[in-house]
């Protein structure tokens, strides 16, 4: 077993105080559809101080407890919405399950892989970076 490193009685002021929980994606964004097809997405990023985020417990079918943020609640900081246009080859009529049961597996098999691609592409945009940084900097002031 490794020896515990000796500690010092000297103290240093803490400088990194950012403990934030941030959620975005279907559930916080709005999918703009034409004839049922997703053409664009209005993205909103929601942020909380981790210590004060609204938590709820979910008991799973295997009796595990998942203590998670209730993302449907108002956030401490909400980003300015911005629109991202879905490339033609990534458009779909499938919809997010919204955690409503039972899931439609065929719908999920179409929607979820596309959603993962949307998330990656949106995260790579300058607008996402700008709005994410804005949420974090506003949380920094609290």
């Amino acid at each position: 077993m490794d020896t515990i490193a000796p500690t010092s009685e000297e103290t240093m002021a803490k400088i990194n105080g950012g403990f934030y929980t941030i959620i975005w994606g279907p559930g916080t964004w709005t999918e703009n559809r034409t004839d049922g097809v997703v053409k664009s997405i209005t993205v909103v990023i929601k942020g909380w101080l981790t210590d004060s985020a609204p938590m709820i417990n979910k008991t799973t079918s295997s009796d595990e407890i998942v203590n998670h943020v209730d993302w449907t609640q108002d956030a401490t900081i909400t980003s300015v919405p911005f629109t991202w246009y879905v490339p033609n080859d990534l458009q779909t009529t499938a919809t997010w399950h919204g955690h409503q049961h039972p899931h439609n597996e065929a719908n999920d098999d179409t929607y979820l892989p596309l959603m993962k691609q949307w998330l990656t592409l949106i995260k790579a945009t300058d607008k996402y970076t700008e709005e994410y940084n804005s949420v974090v900097s506003q949380l920094d002031t609290l």
């Binding site: 077993m1 490794d2 020896t3 515990i4 490193a5 000796p6 500690t7 010092s8 009685e9 000297e10 103290t11 240093m12 002021a13 803490k14 400088i15 990194n16 105080g17 950012g18 403990f19 934030y20 929980t21 941030i22 959620i23 975005w24 994606g25 279907p26 559930g27 916080t28 981790t50 979910k58 799973t60 079918s61 295997s62 595990e64 998942v66 203590n67 998670h68 943020v69 993302w71 449907t72 997010w96 399950h97 955690h99 049961h101 039972p102 899931h103 597996e105 999920d108 979820l112 959603m115 993962k116 998330l119 995260k123 974090v136």
Partner: protein, 265 residues
């Protein structure tokens, strides 16, 4: 050590700031080269002429109570890019309840190079999660340098701390729990012990190593998405009589990807 709050001489300023030689001293040159830029005069009732310690006009009273920062021989960032390292783990298929864990280590090693002492902070991949460093894949158990700080033996700090914070990002929301734990690392002469955020450790003389571990757990039910942990960590040194030296602040990001398949029970 330090500059008094009365009878301040240019020689005393030069001795503390350490700029140039002890002759032909100008207040402007000492002010512009003062390393402890955050200092404000501790002379009671003193009012700065403006511009701060390092800016014009240069007031000698601005040095009242001044203590220089810890002197380094060099302070070098060893990684390139925006993150010191990145880690990823994918749960490609699960049904019902899913769990993903990424762990990595930070290792502080002290060595001697010539007559100088060197403190180097490394990042290390563990068996939980695949890492990348300078855009190349990491090998588990290999140490990759983040920051190398060299001191003369006379200026060797007493202690150091790693100051940590984390942003957890879930996309999308759902029955997903993100959890970060700071644990004692393994494999070195010393372990940090748990809950090491900002815990001040003695900076041991060469040659020693101390391992710190960061653990990110994501648990979820019927969730397909990505959870990202952005760790911000600062390496700080302290020496008795000196203000804290923040040698580096860096980020390490961890991405955990989960894909639910089949009927959601």
């Amino acid at each position: 050590m330090g500059i008094p709050t009365s009878n301040i001489s240019l020689q005393a300023i030069q001795a503390e700031v350490g700029h140039g030689t002890s002759s032909n001293i100008s207040l402007q040159a000492q002010s512009q080269n003062a390393a402890n830029t955050g200092h404000t005069s501790t002379i009671s009732g003193y009012s700065s002429p403006g511009g701060g310690l390092t800016g014009s006009p240069y007031g000698i009273g601005e040095f009242g109570g001044y203590v220089n920062v810890i002197q380094t021989v060099s302070n070098v960032q060893n990684y390139t890019g925006s993150n010191a390292a990145s880690f990823v783990k994918v749960l490609s298929s699960y049904n019902g309840y899913g769990f993903v864990r990424v762990e990595y280590q930070l290792v502080m090693k002290t060595t001697q190079v010539g007559s100088n002492y060197v403190a180097t902070l490394y990042v290390e991949e563990t068996s939980n999660g695949l890492g990348s460093y300078n855009s190349a894949a990491m090998n588990t158990g290999t140490l990759y340098p983040i920051q190398t700080v060299t001191f003369t033996q006379a200026n060797w700090p007493d202690s150091y701390a790693l100051d940590h914070s984390v942003n957890a990002i879930s996309s999308p929301g759902g029955a997903i729990s993100t959890d970060t734990t700071l644990l004692g690392g393994t494999g070195e002469t010393h372990t940090s012990g748990s809950n090491w955020d900002n815990s001040t450790k003695e900076l041991l003389n060469p040659t020693t190593g101390t391992a710190f571990k960061v653990r990110h757990n994501t648990t979820a039910e019927c969730w397909t998405g990505t959870s990202t942990y952005d760790d911000t960590i600062s390496l700080k040194f302290i020496k008795s009589g000196y203000p804290t030296l923040t040698a580096a602040t860096f980020t390490i990001d961890t991405e955990q990807d989960m894909n639910h398949t089949g009927l959601c029970p």
